[in-house]
């Protein structure tokens, strides 16, 4: 590798001193004279029909300047995936007819202080006819479960199918050839991103009619374009300012604070701030979705995996958010970094009446890695092989064809295995000690398309 100049040097980070001395300016540090505060009124139930939202007592509270309901949202669809052609829209910005999860936003109150806004939110009276929620993905997939989606079932539809699939080689033949069948089920439960900085948004109406939106989004243009669609204004009316974020981990790509805060600012003509509490971050923000992965592998006595069949069920919660995309990422990674000639994968994106899940660090790949790598040890223990050896025997090499039909060109799995063994002083079995990613000795020839 060619030596470069400043690239490759551990120079001190340009913003480090600011971060550790508390001088870096985050969105919550933005303050404007006359700024108002926003608080959200949320569904207390997991599923129900909204009969009535009575905001009259909240509106009479001194210091309350506005209430924002579904009627105030020009295009009341949460549109984040429509820009990349994933439809139909399924999530309202503010719920109007039904609520699909506990904590779903129904209306916002805007007041002179954060305390008044909080009190006013507690004065909004909700009348909701509660319905039996669908909370379990396996139940959601059965014919008995009520369809919580308008299209008549509880799965995202990919090109007319209720799942994404990989088909590579012939798994049935692989299972017939195999000396052993090894099965395993792996379950991830939802977790929270826990950024140090919670969601915060400040919107200032400018004298020229534009809105300056201070946001800690991970994606400024994506947020601007989606906010413009929801507000039904051309994007030239909006200016997104951000770029310094106190931790994202995928939790700040949902465009979840900017549209409502903008509507409140337009309605009142004054700057508005909405900052989430830690409780909202835990209980109301998107989470890493639960994911259940069922593996069935056909394995030869010498350790080679000759067939792998996987069924994966991703719990999207109540709405798409980014889950339909994550499931595709899951699909591509469920075979793992191994050369397996016969692969069959079915991935389902399933809706339940739960807090929506969305992107999180390692989006649906973390899940696959957990399942694949525990499964590898399970195989090793069933056939009585060293865990290092089972990985090295099956590791993909350059030139191999992955099940997504992409030729591997930058494999270094074997190199990391050898380096890790050296790091901890582990002696590798003689059979695999000299393997490397450009060498096929002792393993299957590259699988051709």
């Amino acid at each position: 590798m060619k030596q470069l100049g400043i690239v490759g040097q551990s120079v001190k980070r340009s913003d480090g001193i600011g971060h550790v001395t508390g001088q870096t300016e985050y969105v919550d540090d933005v303050f404007y004279p006359g700024m108002l505060w926003l608080k959200m009124v949320r569904s207390p139930v997991s599923r129900g029909r909204i009969r009535r939202v009575d905001t009259s007592r909240a509106e009479r509270l001194p210091g309350v300047t506005a209430v924002v309901t579904a009627k105030d949202v020009p295009n009341n669809w949460y549109t984040i995936l429509c820009l990349i052609g994933i439809e139909p829209n399924d999530e309202p910005v503010l719920a109007d007819e039904e609520v699909m999860y506990e904590g779903e936003p129904i209306c916002a109150v805007v007041a002179e202080t954060e305390d008044i806004a909080r009190e006013a939110a507690s004065l909004v009276k909700l009348e909701i006819d509660e319905q039996e929620p669908v909370l379990d993905v396996e139940y959601a997939l059965t014919a008995d479960a009520p369809a919580i989606k308008k299209w008549g079932n509880n799965t995202f539809m990919y090109d007319g199918m209720n799942h994404r699939r990989l088909r590579f080689g012939d798994v049935d033949r692989g299972f017939e050839e195999a000396d052993h069948i090894v099965e395993g089920t792996y379950q991830m439960t939802p977790i929270e991103h826990v950024p140090m900085e919670t969601h915060v948004c400040v919107v200032k109406p400018e004298p020229n009619g534009r809105l300056t939106i201070h946001s800690n989004t991970q994606a400024l243009y994506f947020t601007m374009d989606n906010t413009a669609i929801i507000l039904k204004v051309p994007s030239n009316r909006l200016r997104l300012v951000g770029g310094t974020v106190g931790g994202g981990f995928g939790g700040k790509v949902d465009v979840i604070t900017e549209p409502v805060t903008s509507i409140a600012a337009m309605k009142t003509g004054r700057p508005v701030k909405w900052r989430w509490t830690r409780e909202e971050e835990f209980r109301r923000s998107s989470v890493r979705g639960a994911c259940k992965m069922e593996y069935r592998d056909g394995v030869m006595k010498d350790g080679r995996i000759v067939a792998r069949k996987v069924r994966s069920i991703h719990d999207a919660g109540a709405y798409h958010r980014h889950s339909p995309y994550g499931v595709q990422k899951n699909m591509a990674n469920l075979p793992g970094p191994y050369s397996i000639p016969n692969v069959w994968v079915d991935c389902y994106c399933v809706y339940t009446n739960r807090q929506p899940s969305s992107a999180m660090r390692g989006f649906a790949v973390t899940e696959a890695t957990f399942a694949v790598e525990v499964q590898m040890d399970k195989i090793a223990s069933v056939i009585g092989m060293d865990p290092w050896e089972i990985r090295m025997v099956n590791a993909y090499r350059n030139g191999h064809m992955r099940p997504v039909r992409k030729v591997v060109e930058d494999a270094t799995l074997l190199e990391t295995l050898k380096a890790a063994a050296q790091l901890v002083g582990h002696e590798l079995p003689a059979r695999v000690r000299d393997m490397h990613s450009d060498d096929y000795a002792g393993v299957a020839e590259p699988v051709q398309p």
Partner: protein, 333 residues
């Protein structure tokens, strides 16, 4: 009571970037009158240090000192389009866009210098903020003076535009065929744990990893990712869940007393080595390291628990309750 020790390993690949709907990032670079280069990006810095590594890449591509590069992120009025900071894509995409923009700017810089120095542009090189004639190092001119000449004498803009686009790759609905990444980084992690068979508690003693992440732009910040990710992965394995009894809604946590994350006292010993095999399409061979570091610790710890006490706990998080239940089920076999 007995405390059992075990070791587990896990290997993983990780894709850089995404492909859904196409995945572009743009950058603009322009030179100020006295030779400061401004890099305009809409990519956000999440705390991982993007601004710093982009500054390094721009300085490398321009041939100027890091101090004379100003990286401005975060304003849609002044910076061109970026998809966002996620999918381990920012350094790869923005880095490539910045190299392209810097290359265009550098071409003008050399043309301006060539006229001032009465030399051919192709005979000039830029290093440490000085333009010199190749092979004749005494014939030099500073970027400072060239920038002044461009602005006030020649009337030229020393600026450049850059974009990197990973085109959309539609998924074949029947076979799943697609191009899901730009490159793949790799890792193997070794976990050493202790399992208390009376309480079910798991203590991670050590996490040691060998990473391969293409070229490192800033090794210390790669280390930051590896360290932070190891702890995040450990917490994912042993501590965290917003629905501890999923799919039941019980015990939904709302604060740090109910949702416990690791603190300094929970940290295991952490070791790592980094291998560098440059990617063919990353800026200077970069691969993404942002997300992957939280992944391999999870199965490595689960496998180490199996090595210690002979049970695979395959539902996360691996709480003491689940360990004890698994041990009890094993005894009853």
């Amino acid at each position: 009571m007995s405390v059992m020790r075990g070791r587990g390993i896990a290997s993983a690949n990780y894709p850089t970037g995404m492909n859904l709907g196409g995945d572009p990032t743009q950058a603009l670079v322009f030179c100020q009158p006295t030779g400061t280069f401004s890099v305009k990006l809409a990519s956000t810095d999440l705390g991982q240090g993007l601004k710093t590594v982009i500054g390094q890449i721009a300085a490398e591509a321009l041939g100027v000192p890091l101090e004379s590069v100003v990286v401005d992120t975060g304003d849609t009025d002044s910076a061109p389009h970026d998809m966002g900071t996620f999918a381990s894509r920012a350094t790869h995409r923005a880095g490539n866009a910045v190299i392209m923009a810097a290359t265009e700017a550098k071409k003008v810089l050399l043309e301006v210098a060539a006229e001032e120095m009465e030399a051919a542009p192709e005979d000039l090189e830029v290093r440490d903020g000085q333009v010199s004639v190749k092979g004749t190092p005494q014939r030099t001119m500073s970027v400072f003076d060239i920038a002044l000449a461009a602005h006030f004498k020649q009337g030229r803009t020393i600026s450049g535009r850059g974009i990197y686009l990973k085109p959309k790759s539609a998924i074949d609905p029947e076979t799943g065929a697609c191009d899901p990444d730009s490159t793949e980084a790799h890792v193997t992690t070794v976990a050493d744990v202790e399992v208390d068979t009376e309480t079910g508690e798991v203590t991670v003693l050590r996490l040691a990893s060998a990473y391969e992440v293409g070229r490192q732009v800033n090794p210390q910040m790669v280390q930051g990712q590896i360290t932070g990710g190891a702890v995040m992965g450990m917490a994912h394995t042993l501590m965290e869940s917003v629905f501890p009894y999923y799919p039941a809604l019980d015990h939904h946590p709302g604060n740090f007393g109910e949702y416990v994350i690791p603190t300094a006292v929970d940290l295991p010993e952490l070791h790592h080595v980094v291998l560098e095999y440059p990617s063919s399409n990353g800026p200077y061979g970069v691969k993404g390291v942002g997300e992957m570091t939280a992944n391999s610790p999870i199965p490595a710890i689960v496998n180490a628990i199996h090595d210690a006490v002979g049970v695979f706990v395959t539902e996360l998080p691996v709480t003491p309750e689940k360990v004890l239940r698994a041990l009890r089920a094993k005894e009853q076999l």
